[in-house]
């Protein structure tokens, strides 16, 4: 698989439930960033986790990073209909300053 692959590809949940999305990557990284994209819109930065960090929180978001497994997860707690969007992980590879994006997870939160 390519750098920054998410699973599942699509996720449908009820409002109030938690949503978990996973991302795997192949090379050593400086950091991993999660972005949200509403249909046809721009990429909104959600959270950045550095390679020496294991967990980070921001509001209803919780991100974990396991560099030994080269994987990350994004948890959205108490989801809302407004969380419906595509979510992308993007890795900044070591010794670089560009981001490599995964294919994304399409999240649908039903009210």
């Amino acid at each position: 698989s390519q750098q920054g692959e998410e699973d599942p590809q699509a996720l449908s949940i009820q409002e109030g439930e938690n949503a978990t999305m996973n991302c795997s990557y192949k090379t050593s990284i400086n950091n991993l960033q999660w972005y949200r994209q509403n249909s046809g819109r721009g990429l909104v930065h959600l959270i950045l986790i550095r390679s020496n960090e294991r967990e980070k929180h921001s509001g209803r978001l919780r991100v974990t990073l396991d560099t030994s497994k080269k994987s990350s997860s994004l948890l959205i707690t108490a989801s809302r209909a407004a969380d419906t969007a595509s979510y992308f992980c993007a890795t900044e590879v070591e010794y670089g300053n560009k981001l490599v994006f995964g294919a994304g997870t399409i999240l649908r939160v039903k009210s």
Partner: protein, 114 residues
């Protein structure tokens, strides 16, 4: 909050025509990028720009593409002779300083080549 702004939001152009997409990065940022996203596909890196020169480019960024920072605020992407497969959303992005920082994206310019 400062943001990256892009114009136009949507452009339709004839195949073979030249297109210039414009971006105003966040004012104190030093690294600038163009990415593209073909409909339904992943976001792909095109080029990064630092200190008035290209620092890295992808295989997609061939001779028909060029970037320029004509003044202290604008950052442009030119596609010299557009092809149907250039139809995509083009995102400009900027980062404040060296690696390890958040990269901020604009709302995108949707290019349709007919």
């Amino acid at each position: 909050e400062p943001e990256v702004t892009q114009t136009p939001s949507h452009q339709v152009t004839q195949m073979g025509q030249e297109v210039i997409l414009r971006c105003v990065p966040i004012s104190n940022h030093l690294y600038f990028y163009w990415y593209r996203q073909i409909l339904g596909q992943k976001v792909e890196f095109l080029v990064s720009f630092y200190n008035n020169e290209i620092s890295e480019k992808s295989e997609i960024f061939d001779d028909q593409f060029s970037v320029e920072r004509p003044d202290g605020s604008n950052f442009t992407l030119k596609i010299r002779s557009t092809k149907l497969e250039d139809s995509a959303m083009y995102f400009c992005a900027s980062m404040r300083r060296t690696s390890g920082n958040t990269i901020y994206f604009g709302e995108g310019s949707w290019l349709t080549v007919v």
